[in-house]
């Protein structure tokens, strides 16, 4: 698949997300505001990574991954918890990884991803066109984690899924023909 071509298409194409820069919400009771967005592509489609700013708490910055109506918030953690790069090829869906506080996480999928477009404020190491191997994991009680094997670095994010209603979103984007209950 021609990622450049897809990228152009994706830019032009509205992706029906209810979120936008300026949307506020809460994750586990902590308030945040969406300040930036990365649209990431992989073989079978796209998803959005929204960059969050938390006014209070240990983590000031976080990510809200949005795909197919699932919403997960995660924070960057020490990359040393991840299996080293050379072992990444041995990873496969269904594998259990002793990860993050020694809990067992299960590999959900492994994808070659590319950052297609971005808008708003983003951390410096999230440039457009950045390619990486993304390993998504799920843990006990709707926990999740992502390991990103990029060319020159490994980054690890950990967090959890939360139901849409629990986010108590404000300033959502209006979607024609749909009312947000």
């Amino acid at each position: 698949m021609d990622l450049e071509a897809v990228g152009k298409m994706a830019e032009l194409q509205d992706d029906l997300t209810p979120l936008q820069i300026g949307t506020t919400g809460k994750y586990k009771g902590k308030a945040f505001e969406i300040i930036g967005r990365m649209k990431v592509s992989y073989d079978d489609g796209f998803w959005n990574e929204w960059y969050l700013y938390f006014a209070e708490g240990k983590h000031k910055e976080g990510w809200l991954a949005e795909a197919q109506g699932f919403y997960a918030v995660c924070f960057e953690v020490d990359q040393r918890v991840a299996p080293p790069r050379q072992d990444a090829s041995a990873l496969q869906p269904g594998r259990l990884v002793a990860f993050h506080d020694h809990e067992l996480f299960e590999i959900e999928d492994i994808r070659e991803v590319k950052c297609l477009v971005s808008e708003g404020e983003l951390p410096v190491n999230a440039p457009k066109g950045r390619e990486s191997l993304s390993v998504d994991l799920t843990g006990p009680d709707t926990q999740m984690a992502t390991i990103e094997y990029a060319k020159d670095e490994i980054r690890v994010f950990a967090g959890g899924y939360q139901d849409f209603d629990d986010f108590k979103f404000h300033n959502l984007r209006e979607i024609e023909g749909w009312k947000h209950a």
Binding site: D15, G45, G69, P93, G94, E106, E119, G120, Y161, H180
Partner: protein, 440 residues
């Protein structure tokens, strides 16, 4: 192009239109930002809408078998407090049995995707799970367990097999293809069902909840929908609740009944009011013998008349009346004591009994006597024998208890049978039924 383009916020959302790359018929994608694949309404091929050239994902379509979704695509309805639009329709088939069921893909841009499944006319609302009931490692190894614990519920294995995509219509958030198959396992705990689907690449868990057909009809304004057939794997039992309440009540009343019986038995006087021995002559009769007057205490209680006759290969018959000396109230009774024994072909046998008893209930207190006639027969012997007539007042009895127990148990037993019949029907389509004996 700048790295962070400042796009003006678009409020309008528009469908995408193009012509089918196979037959040229116009195709509309209603939610192109969310959907990745669409079927041509005319020739039914599946097209990749993320591809610039609208690549055909799946050419397969079965002309001989067209399925019509009972809820038309594009219909919106409110289920579980949210509004959903039916955007896709899939028919899947169990590879082994050929049994097929329908799945309706529901979409809401805020809440994502859900499924409504229709199986033998029974509906279920399906939500994808991110927390896995158990590791897919087990699924990878083809080790499946008979029970799964998930959020305080225990789910029992109901089905496992290969599910094949037989037919698709509409638009989908993944690149759906006909004829692809997944390994599927269902676990039930009504009204819920846990399912996992595994295709070598990923394992997806979902949770279904049984939805009454009337709710689906009402939500999507569908008229004339065929009703359900049989019992669905996750259909809540209408008898289970009645049975569990009934069981509690039943246990409660039985305990009460036993307690009551113990108390009354303990308080029974159980004394001998009369114990007389009389003689009778074999093959003779006696008429109008009267016992001494005896006293029955208590206002009202039962009376047991015990008769023991010295019979051996003979019979003794008594007919009598117990008469209240003051009021003249009379209780009639008659009994035969007969006892035979012998040896046939070297084997000893015996039948009958030399004693009999008569229970009279609710006999008022007072002075009583008994009048009686007797008759007896013996084919070999003549001469005199004895019999005793004993009157026992206020004996502990279990007859009342047994009757109460019987009547008290009728409804619970019916409830239990209904409940069990429902469960047997539920499991009749399963290879893992706990109700199937090894012989069938």
């Amino acid at each position: 192009m700048p790295d962070t383009p400042e796009k003006p916020e678009k409020k309008k959302y528009s469908a995408k239109n193009f012509d089918c790359t196979r037959c040229g018929a116009p195709i509309t994608v209603k939610y192109p930002g969310a959907s990745l694949a669409v079927t041509c309404p005319n020739c039914k091929v599946v097209i990749d809408i993320t591809d610039q050239n609208y690549r055909i994902l799946s050419k397969y379509f079965d002309k001989t078998k067209e399925y019509e979704p009972i809820i038309p695509l594009g219909t919106r309805g409110k289920l579980f407090d949210k509004e959903w639009e039916v955007i896709g329709f899939v028919v899947r088939r169990d590879k082994l049995s050929g049994f097929s069921w329908e799945e309706y893909l529901l979409f809401n841009p805020y809440y994502g995707y859900r499924w409504l499944t229709r199986n033998n006319g029974h509906w279920s609302f399906v939500t994808m799970l991110k927390d896995k009931p158990y590791s897919s490692k087990a699924a990878l190894d083809r080790v499946y367990v008979s029970r799964v614990n998930f959020k305080d519920d225990t789910f029992k294995l109901y089905y496992s097999g290969h599910a094949v995509v037989a037919y698709v219509l509409g638009e989908f958030y993944w690149k759906v293809k006909t004829n692809t198959e997944v390994w599927m396992t269902d676990y039930v705990s009504p009204p819920y069902m846990l399912s996992n689907e595994w295709d070598n690449r990923e394992l997806v868990w979902s949770k279904s909840e049984y939805v009454d057909v009337s709710k689906v009809k009402e939500a999507f304004k569908i008229e004339g929908m065929a009703g359900p057939v049989g019992v669905a794997p996750n259909q809540p039992s209408p008898y289970l609740k009645t049975w569990s309440v009934m069981r509690l009540l039943w246990v409660f009343f039985i305990v009460m009944l036993i307690g009551l019986n113990v108390v009354t038995a303990g308080r029974a006087m159980n004394y001998t009011a009369l114990n007389q021995m009389y003689a009778f002559t074999m093959n003779g009769k006696t008429n109008d013998t009267t016992t001494p007057v005896f006293e029955l205490l208590k206002d009202k209680a039962n009376v047991e008349i015990n008769l023991k006759a010295d019979v051996d290969n003979s019979w003794f018959y008594i007919s009598g009346e117990m008469v209240n000396d003051e009021t003249g109230d009379t209780y009639y009774f008659e009994r035969t004591c007969e006892y035979y024994r012998g040896v046939d072909d070297g084997e000893a046998w015996s039948e009958g009994s030399s004693s009999q008893n008569i229970l009279l209930s609710g006999v008022p207190g007072g002075k009583y006597y008994i009048n009686f006639d007797t008759e007896s027969g013996d084919f070999r012997l003549q001469g005199s024998r004895n019999f005793t007539l004993q009157v026992q007042r206020d004996v502990p009895t279990f007859a009342n208890f047994m009757w109460c127990f019987f009547w008290l148990s009728i409804l619970p037993v019916i409830c239990w049978f209904n409940m069990r019949h429902f469960e047997v029907s539920r499991w009749s389509e399963s290879d893992y039924s706990p109700y199937v004996s090894s012989s069938s």
